[in-house]
């Protein structure tokens, strides 16, 4: 008998605390698989955010640092500048990255910090129970937009990849999703490429992952995946927004 499916070494043998149907678990696994495949567990330091994944330092077997809300890119900057031969990643949600931590992510990107950010966008605040996120869609009902997000009252959803891809320090920016197997595999490939580019010193790398929050969206997991496809992907098109290796190849 041979083992065909196992837990990646970089992923701790612990039950995840996430809600049923939440896609954080998948994304954790993808990161752990990439760390295994690149053989970098021993030199990787991850930075946990504030939000539902505040304690995902428990789920990765590499060294981990827990950061204040939104400050993960700054903490990662301090780590990476101190550890030139290591690999540093941040794991951040949409509130953490695109609201309270907007300055930190923009400046880490523009400085071209050699870090990888995995940005999980589920268009809502999960941990604090379903408030509007900077990425909540127009019309989306949340606990702080009970009548739906209205542009005249709440502004428009932020497109992070589009924004950051304008910065010269950014080496690789891709938006992915984990709504089906094909996209999950693409997400993993993107994360792997981002880590590789970090290690080659290319600059700042970010992979956005469109994700679900069945609990706070008020839908079952299957309906959530459908909602992601129909609504989020329309506002947040998947694809590579910046790839310095591609533009170098084109020249």
């Amino acid at each position: 008998m041979s083992i065909v499916f196992d837990r990646p070494h970089a992923l701790a043998d612990k039950p995840l605390h996430y809600c049923p149907g939440c896609t954080h678990g998948i994304i954790h696994r993808l990161i752990a698989e990439v760390i295994d495949e690149l053989g970098i567990e021993g030199i990787t330091v991850g930075v946990s955010p504030v939000g539902c994944t505040y304690n995902n330092y428990e789920y990765f077997n590499c060294d981990m640092v827990q950061a204040a809300h939104g400050r993960a890119p700054a903490v990662a900057t301090g780590l990476r500048r101190s550890l030139p031969d290591n690999v540093v990643f941040t794991y951040q949600g949409d509130g953490d990255l695109a609201a309270i931590g907007t300055a930190e992510i923009v400046h880490a990107a523009t400085r071209g910090e050699r870090i990888t950010t995995v940005f999980v966008n589920n268009a809502i605040y999960g941990m604090t129970s379903g408030q509007m996120a900077p990425t909540s869609l127009i019309g989306q009902v949340t606990t702080t937009t009970p009548f739906g997000r209205k542009p005249e009252l709440h502004g428009y959803p932020v497109r992070v990849c589009e924004l950051l891809s304008t910065l010269e320090g950014a080496a690789y920016i891709e938006r992915t999703a984990v709504n089906n197997v094909k996209n999950i595999r693409k997400a993993k490939a993107a994360i792997k490429k981002a880590f590789e580019l970090q290690m080659s010193g290319a600059g700042f790398t970010l992979v956005e992952v469109l994700s679900t929050c069945p609990t706070n969206w008020g839908m079952n997991p299957v309906r959530s995946l459908e909602w992601l496809e129909k609504n989020m992907m329309e506002h947040y098109p998947l694809g590579v927004y910046k790839d310095v290796t591609a533009s170098a190849a084109a020249e």
């Binding site: 567990e41 021993g42 030199i43 990787t44 330091v45 930075v47 946990s48 505040y54 304690n55 330092y57 428990e58 990765f60 077997n61 590499c62 060294d63 981990m64 640092v65 827990q66 950061a67 204040a68 400050r71 700054a74 903490v75 990662a76 900057t77 301090g78 780590l79 990476r80 500048r81 101190s82 550890l83 290591n86 300055a103 930190e104 923009v106 400046h107 400085r111």
Partner: protein, 353 residues
């Protein structure tokens, strides 16, 4: 004896940090401490260290948090409004027990205030401007030479106790030039940091730096441990200058630049036959309460002089604990307590029957 150099306080802070082995500096410009960043930006490039001008004080302190997590000797410097922004990161660092040196060259507030010297942030730094039960170790140098010695000491103490340390100076201390001799008063200690997040190298369980403890009993246990550490710091690290206190008619308390004005007053008063003592806290936390207990019954009264509306005086009163009168004289807004006014207050207290 080494060479005596004439240097600005702010530059000495930077040079002392470099001599203490600090190779990582993160900051954001603010007057009156920008010379620290100027010096660091030049030297770090020469030495192959890290200098980052961050996008904000929030980012700067969190970069410090990251570098400290990696076990590096790291420093940031700022001034009052900038320190307010850093409070979030300072509280997290105290909880996560990260050694770091934070320099606060205080300017006058509140609000944007002004850039002139002040001591109006004693409460913020000594009592904890951030949230939670924590203490910072706070040094208050009063000369450029002492600034050098305390910065070196600060790095050693920070590493020893895994605790953030603050160098609290007023704008004058940062801006003035005095002679400094970079003498090795204290060896630069190299303390192992097995807790640092530098990668497991597949040789140990992973390290985690965190300040979140969701369960009440776990957090309380962590807090109890922190409190125990703070008690040991109080026991071992308190520093104070007691000057001329034996048999003094009046004991004045002041720290930093103000303590030096008081030393002038001590001479003036002596020529009038009044013996004035000075208790100068060198550590503001831990506060040298024992000195006040020791001399509580000695003088006719205590006088606390500050460039504030009255902050350290509360700690003096707590320490004297009603055994003697404690009066206060302070100036704010960037004004400095006047020598002749202090002298008059001293005379008033000394003339009491």
């Amino acid at each position: 004896m080494g060479e005596k150099l004439l240097m600005k306080g702010n530059e000495v802070i930077a040079e002392a940090a470099l001599r203490a082995g600090c190779r990582h500096y993160f900051g954001y410009p603010i007057t009156p401490q920008t010379e620290v960043a100027h010096y660091m930006s030049r030297k770090m490039e020469e030495l192959g260290g890290t200098f980052v001008q961050a996008e904000s004080e929030l980012a700067a302190i969190n970069m410090v948090y990251g570098a400290a997590s990696a076990g590096k000797r790291v420093m940031t410097s700022s001034s009052s409004p900038g320190i307010s922004l850093k409070q979030e990161g300072i509280s997290y660092s105290a909880c996560a027990e990260l050694p770091m040196v934070i320099v606060d060259i205080v300017r006058c507030g509140p609000g944007l205030g002004g850039i002139l010297p002040a001591q109006c942030d004693y409460f913020q730094i000594v009592k904890g401007g951030g949230h939670g039960d924590y203490n910072l170790i706070v040094f208050a140098p009063s000369s450029v030479q002492e600034l050098y010695e305390l910065v070196v000491h600060a790095f050693n103490v920070a590493d020893t106790y895994r605790n953030p340390v603050v160098i609290l100076g007023d704008g004058y201390l940062g801006q003035m030039m005095e002679a400094v001799e970079f003498r090795d008063t204290e060896p630069v200690e190299h303390i192992d940091k097995p807790w640092a997040t530098v990668g497991t190298h597949m040789k140990r369980e992973h390290n985690v730096i965190t300040s979140i403890y969701i369960e009440a009993d776990v957090l309380e246990a962590h807090n109890n441990r922190l409190q125990e550490k703070y008690r040991s710091i109080q026991k071992n690290e308190t520093m104070v200058e007691e000057y001329n206190c034996e048999g003094a008619d009046v004991i004045v308390t002041a720290y930093g630049t103000v303590a030096r004005i008081v030393k002038n007053v001590i001479k003036d008063a002596a020529s009038e036959g009044i013996k004035v003592g000075l208790i100068r806290p060198v550590t503001l936390w831990p506060f040298p309460s024992a000195s006040f207990v020791k001399y509580a019954d000695t003088p006719k009264g205590f006088l606390t002089v500050e460039m504030s509306a009255g902050q350290m005086v509360e700690d003096v009163r707590l320490a004297v604990n009603g055994r003697n009168s404690v009066e206060f004289y302070g100036r704010t807004g960037g004004n400095v307590p006047e020598q002749k006014v202090i002298l008059q207050k001293v005379r008033d207290i000394a003339s009491r029957v």
